[in-house]
């Protein structure tokens, strides 16, 4: 189907199903129960899952395939956001032109940075991209404030020109009138599920991006990129100049980042400079490695994992914990709360750091490898593994399968 083999089609279908039913799947607990804290099925977080999924998918095309570790990808995200907000300020609140512009501008920006940075490889390349991104961040925060609105972030205001919008056009990002923040909530017993326009738009775009990335992975171009990662020397002695390939991968992944930035701004019309900081670039790297670099679905898992922690664990406070463990005898309750408290709420960074370490130590191939191991347990080893999989996974170089 769609030019994919059976396995890929199945994977695409599974991801599609997950995206479509996410509002239900992510809200497994009744809204009023104490476990509702762990529900992630509200529009903003679901949007972030898929948007950062797009970002990570794009990053993976560069890092997972070519092995070039960019530490400045957040710059493209930021540039995409700024372009989108400007489009919404000047032309129209319709998100289509905004998203298109953000992809184009991020693409151009990545041609520039990629062309220069790709003159070097390895850590020298990483530091060059980092330097460009940090420059962008520092300038956006201060000197470029007329364009970026600095610390506060670029916002839409009531008196923006918006020359294409009529007087009655919605004052919120919309798709031909359907506002991104519109949502319908379905109550079912104690459960409530929110279906939002913005989320489904992001979801569709994410599925398209995911499909595109499968096609790239399975194309001769994708194979060339993997060959670049594997052995540049041999590429050179096969008559291939690797630079156009790496630059193309860089620009594609930059455009993915721009798309993610444009979507972020479309869901929530504000572009903050922090999006370009090195920590944001580092976050993309972490998402990709955590999920499984070079695998198709890994980056999406990684993105979901980190965003879940950032948004769910940071909101657990002492009172929440006390409510959970209220069934315990008072002394024991306090003890349990005291044990858990440092790891949630303001300590969510600690949990995240520990999980990074645990995943890298025990699952060198990232979360995808964890999934594979679980799947293996269920398969009962009735089929013999044919290829040299264990050998490659040990080295953290997963063939791009799942």
């Amino acid at each position: 189907m769609l030019g994919l083999d059976k396995k890929d089609t199945l994977m695409l279908l599974v991801v599609t199903a997950l995206v479509v039913f996410a509002p239900i799947l992510l809200n497994p607990f009744p809204a009023e129960s104490s476990m509702a804290q762990f529900n992630a099925g509200y529009p903003d977080l679901m949007q972030r899952f898929v948007i950062f999924g797009i970002l990570a998918i794009g990053f993976n095309i560069l890092f997972g395939l070519t092995g070039y570790l960019s530490f400045g990808h957040a710059a493209f995200l930021g540039v995409g956001s700024y372009s989108a907000v400007w489009m919404m300020k000047l032309l129209t609140m319709n998100v289509i032109p905004a998203i298109l512009l953000s992809v184009i501008v991020a693409g151009l920006f990545s041609v520039l940075i990629g062309y220069i940075s790709l003159r070097r490889s390895g850590i020298y390349f990483s530091i060059l991209t980092l330097a460009f991104a940090q420059m962008s961040f520092n300038l956006a925060y201060s000197v470029l404030t007329p364009i970026t609105n600095g610390e506060t972030g670029l916002q839409i205001t009531l008196n923006d020109p918006r020359i294409l919008d009529g007087a009655n056009a919605p004052a919120y990002p919309n798709l031909f009138g359907a506002q991104m923040n519109e949502a319908t909530t379905l109550f079912f017993g104690g459960w409530s599920f929110t279906f939002s326009v913005g989320y489904y738009l992001c979801g569709i775009i994410m599925l398209l991006s995911f499909y595109l990335s499968i096609r790239i992975f399975r194309s001769p171009f994708g194979m060339m990129l993997r060959a670049v990662k594997s052995n540049q020397q041999r590429m050179n002695y096969t008559g291939l100049n690797t630079k156009p390939y790496t630059l193309a991968a860089f620009v594609i992944s930059g455009m993915y980042a721009g798309l993610a930035g444009g979507l972020l701004a479309s869901m929530d019309p504000l572009a903050g400079a922090e999006r370009m900081q090195w920590t944001a670039s580092g976050e993309v790297v972490l998402m990709t490695i955590l999920g499984g670099a070079g695998t198709l679905i890994g980056p999406i898992l990684g993105a979901g994992f980190i965003k879940y922690f950032e948004n769910i664990f940071s909101k657990i406070n002492e009172a929440t914990l006390e409510a959970w463990f209220a069934f315990l005898p008072a002394g024991l309750e306090d003890f349990v709360v005291a044990i858990i408290y440092p790891f949630v709420g303001k300590g969510w960074h600690l949990t995240l750091g520990l999980l990074f370490m645990l995943v890298v130590i025990f699952l060198p191939g990232g979360l995808v490898e964890g999934g594979q191991r679980v799947a293996k347990l269920f398969r009962r080893r009735d089929r013999q593994t044919t290829d040299a999989e264990p050998d490659t996974t040990r080295q953290g170089q997963i063939p791009p399968a799942e």
């Binding site: 220069i116 920590t279 995240l352 750091g353 130590i361």
Partner: protein
């Protein structure tokens, strides 16, 4: 002229901090081939060794008799320091005053131990893993370390002062023929600069003139061959990791009075120290030191008003501009070797 000289001093001072951190990072990278994102955290822990020692010196018990009322109007009891009780007022107060320099002695064993534990417990298992994994695990470790510090010390900076005698400023200009009051420089920063230079010198001397250092240097150049000679290079590298941690830790201890330590100061230095190391050339110790001083000085000059007037905001990006220019003109940084970290 005096302005330039002042900025040169500032540059050397900043540069010495950069160089010290980068030196440790390069030692770890050059010997073990590990990209250590937790190095900034080690620097931070060094600073907190100074904080901890002054807290230990400040341990006290309540006086028997109340001396007044506290902010809620309850009786207030004065604190009596154990240290003055045990050693007498003179020595006790002297120790409190000199707690930062004393923290050097306190920090060396702690940092060596932390380095040793880190290497044996964690880093060791990552020698053969891709650099991306090393980055992820050490970054995770850095977060954990700083969160632990935050848990115990809070997020606020903690003021840590230098000894009374080394506080304040010193008229440096008079020494070199300027009018009085023109080139005034903080005493502690001069101490820091001297200290850093000594440590850098000591590390180089150690590598240059001891058998241990020779083996390590040979190992940095070609690990396999040295291994073939039947020398247990791994053990030496473990010790090197401890030394690198100690170097970063000492840089942190002495830095405490310059800027009040806080839990995320490691992250503030992390990016910068990587830029320094890479600009110097991966795996090159002299390169790291050179780049540290170079970037420190360039940064200081870029923040001069005369230069900011020409290019506004240049001080925000100068480090990165210099890094880009150097990496584009010298493919492996200032003194990098071929083939290191280029894949």
């Amino acid at each position: 002229m005096d302005a330039i000289l002042l900025q040169l001093l500032n540059g050397l001072d900043k540069g010495s901090a950069y160089a010290l951190i980068a030196l440790g990072l390069t030692l770890i990278f050059g010997t073990l081939g590990v990209v250590n994102f937790a190095h900034g955290a080690i620097f931070m822990i060094g600073s907190f060794c100074a904080v901890t020692l002054s807290k230990i010196f400040a341990l006290s018990h309540k006086a028997a008799e109340p001396s007044g009322k506290d902010f809620l109007g309850n009786p207030k009891y004065d604190d009596v320091l154990y240290i003055t009780e045990w050693f007498g007022d003179d020595i006790g107060n002297w120790m409190i005053d000199w707690s930062v320099p004393l923290a050097i002695l306190f920090a060396i064993p702690i940092m060596l131990f932390i380095g040793y534990v880190m290497e044996r417990g964690l880093i060791k298992h990552f020698y053969k893993r891709p650099h991306a994994d090393q980055i992820l695990v050490t970054f995770g470790l850095a977060i954990v370390l700083q969160e632990v510090i935050k848990y115990f010390y809070g997020a606020n900076p903690i003021p840590t002062s230098s000894p009374e005698a080394l506080r304040g400023s010193f008229d440096f200009g008079v020494l070199i023929g300027f009018d009085p009051d023109v080139i005034i420089y903080p005493v502690w920063r001069l101490v820091y600069f001297t200290f850093s230079t000594l440590i850098i010198g000591a590390v180089f001397a150690f590598l240059q003139f001891t058998t241990f250092g020779m083996v390590v240097r040979a190992g940095m150049a070609d690990r396999e061959t040295v291994g073939l000679l039947g020398i247990n290079i791994d053990k030496r590298f473990t010790i090197m990791f401890g030394i690198a941690a100690a170097v970063a830790g000492l840089a942190g201890v002495m830095y405490a009075p310059i800027n009040s330590p806080n839990y995320h100061m490691g992250m503030d230095f992390l990016v910068l120290s990587f830029v320094v190391v890479v600009v110097g050339g991966m795996g090159s110790l002299p390169g790291a030191v050179l780049a540290g001083f170079l970037l420190g000085i360039v940064e200081s000059f870029a923040s001069m008003n005369e230069i900011k007037a020409i290019i506004p905001g240049i001080d925000q990006i100068i480090i990165y501009v210099v890094a880009i220019v150097i990496l584009l003109t010298r493919p492996r940084g200032l003194m990098g070797r071929k083939g290191v970290m280029e894949e």
